[in-house]
Amino acid sequence: MNLQRLRALIHKEFLQILRDPSAIAIAFLMPMFLLFLIGYGVSLDARHVPVAVVVDHPTPQTSAFVGGLQESPYFHPQLYDSIQRAQHALLDRQVSAILWLRGDFSREVLQGETANIGVLVNGVDANDARIVEGYLQGVWQNWLQQTAVDAGKPLLVPVRVESRIWFNPALRSRDYLVPGLIAVIMTLTGALLTALVVAREWERGSMEALMASPVTMAEILLGKLIPYFLIGMGGMLLSVALAVWLFAVPLVGSFWVLLVCSSLFLLAALGMGLLISSVARNQFVAGQIAIIVTFLPAFILSGFIFDIQSMPTPIQFITHIVAARYFVSILQTVFLAGDVWPIILWNSLALLLMAIFFLGITLLRSRKRLD
């Protein structure tokens, strides 16, 4: 290892970055663009869900129920005069659910029988349908409570749930999505920054020129790694700043823990990019592989949006080879729950092993040899 040669290589890499600004765009513009768009765009909190309300026979009892629906921030009720027209609206995707109070609703309520409230949801988006169903249950329970109070009787529900939600009491989905999003974005930047650079040198033939010089393979790789690491960390800091100041996600844990874990993750992501690049030696293939092994797994298999514990066991096993999985777990914990050491240490260890693995394999594979 010769420091002077390494410095020259790093200098060369920086010059190249400055000349083709796409690396700067990848590291700074892309995270900003994605955070803005996705941070504002992605939400699982249903608000103002359009619901068709059909009341066959309006009475004080039915208007009390519909009033509860109108007051709820979750619903935007629209009155339909027949169930057929409401069903047509459901088919047409104009409403997400139908609430049907049949003609005998009030009579049954007043006579002490149990009236059926018909709810029809569009099940195509099953997750949304479940959430809407949960909100409707809330409206129904409020109505039961109110009816009991009005009648001067105690509520007829034996056991009631008292829930305490830790770490995210308002259940804002943005607070859990934005930290995970940082991991998705960092996976992209890390792999994209390096995936193409070595492949480009092979494709353009400049790798042969480098090999003819006295630099060692380790120096070449370090000369690639260090500049992109610095740029990548810059992008990371920018993302954290946006998360905290723009999206108002609380950062409960310590910033330094976040910084150390991020650099471990970035090393793993860059290592993966370098490995792709040295395997592919061709920008088209390197690009294909980079998209396939980074963005989609980081999006779907990391726990960013789909809960890993709900996946079938073999798939859960596969998620262990996705570096973003460990980083998402660290980010969600450090942002929302604080420095929970068992989680931070185990996941950091996994990231460290992955970084060593990817960088080590790349070094082993990269010989000064022309095939």
């Binding site: 083709d20 504002y40 099940g123 008292e162």
Partner: protein, 369 residues
């Protein structure tokens, strides 16, 4: 003219398929991803890990906890003996929720007094927490109904009877897996189209192409066809897998799906070629594909509903071809839609295809370095 286009198409296929690795990345990964994502991308909760802190010795709490143990949605991971054990368990994610039952639970219930079931839940993943609370509520609801009936609590004045259309068991897999058809088709098509012109520009052969007798329209067709053919093959294959491997019902008309696919492919290829002709190097082309692909996937309604997005972002999604194709795919698969029900999705796709193709062919000529 046809012969010239045909020659260009063959040349394009050779450029993509000549390399063994490049052949592999077009065929292998989409298949693996379909299988992995088809199983992984689910919002349904199975085996929610929970712990129990029961201070009550009576039979009511035992009965209630028995309901949780009997439910497939829940998996008991620990029994706690002090309140201090709750925090570490939740913090470290070993249990998603803790059910806490106070000492007077059975006694209160037997005196016809309402008793609370305390649920402490990890809110880090807010969607999981919301759904898990819904599951707890539904277990509790059936317990309450049973208890009210057997212990003479009187009848509830009304109950909700929920039915779901198109997906009676509310399996989120039925929602996500048809979406994967759109997702993987978009990825493959964009990559093939997005790098095709950029590769020639980087190697300097695009200028040669421009001075041949080929007209810009012919170049456009020659560059577009490989992406469309590869994308169509992948989409057909994935759709077959969705029906025969994942057993998602295909209720609607196949021509409606085919027409949607064709328009979607045209739009995707058009955007890919537009990106490609704007870039001078493959790196720029790839970056452009990414910058389009990532927001296009995330803001398409693939995983999170468009209706939950802010108004401004919702307006932006009208430019996203995947948005329309997802409605088509899900409509045809689950709702049994036919062509006449989907016009509102077809014409924006056609418009996007037309605009992007026109822009791409203009850029062929006018962006020279």
């Amino acid at each position: 003219m046809l012969a010239r286009i045909w020659a260009l198409v063959i040349k394009e296929f050779l450029a993509i398929l000549r390399d063994k690795k490049s052949r592999l990345v077009l065929i292998g990964p989409p298949l693996i991803q379909l299988l992995v994502f088809g199983y992984a991308a689910t919002f349904d909760l199975n085996h929610i890990p929970y712990a129990v802190y029961n201070q009550d010795a009576g039979f009511a709490s035992r009965e209630l906890l028995g309901d949780f143990q009997g439910s497939r949605a829940f998996r008991q991971v620990a029994v706690l003996h002090s309140a201090g054990q709750i925090a570490p368990l939740i913090e470290q994610g070993k249990a998603l929720l803790v059910l806490q039952i106070g000492p007077n639970f059975t006694a209160d219930l037997l005196r016809h007094q309402q008793a609370p079931l305390q649920v402490i839940i990890d809110g880090r993943n807010s969607n999981t927490a919301t759904l898990a609370l819904n599951y707890v509520n539904s277990v509790l609801l059936s317990f309450d109904n049973r208890w009210a009936a057997t212990q003479q609590w009187g009848r509830s004045p009304a109950q909700l009877v929920v039915r779901a259309w198109f997906n009676p068991n509310l399996l989120s897999r039925w929602f996500i897996v048809p979406g994967i058809v759109a997702l993987l088709t978009l990825v493959v098509t964009l990559l093939v189209a997005g790098l095709s012109v950029a590769r020639e520009r980087e190697q300097g052969t695009f200028d040669q192409l421009l001075v041949t007798p080929l007209t810009p329209g012919e170049i456009l067709l020659g560059k577009a066809l490989p992406g469309i053919i590869i994308g169509a093959l992948e989409a057909v294959f994935i759709s077959l897998a969705v029906v025969f491997w994942f057993h998602v019902p295909l209720l609607g008309s196949i021509p409606a799906l085919a027409l949607g696919l064709l328009l979607f492919l045209l739009a995707a290829v058009g955007i890919g070629l537009m990106i490609s002709s704007l870039s001078l190097t493959q790196q720029q082309g790839l970056l452009g594909v990414f910058l389009f692909l990532v927001p296009a996937v995330i803001l398409s309604g693939f995983a999170t509903p468009i209706a939950n997005m802010p108004a401004l972002v919702q307006d932006l999604t009208y430019l996203n071809p995947m948005r329309y194709f997802l409605v088509i795919v899900r409509g045809v698969f689950l709702q049994g839609d036919n062509i006449s029900l989907l016009w509102n999705q077809y014409w924006p796709l056609a418009l996007i295809a037309l605009a992007s193709m026109t822009a791409a062919s203009w850029l062929f000529r006018h962006r020279m370095h």
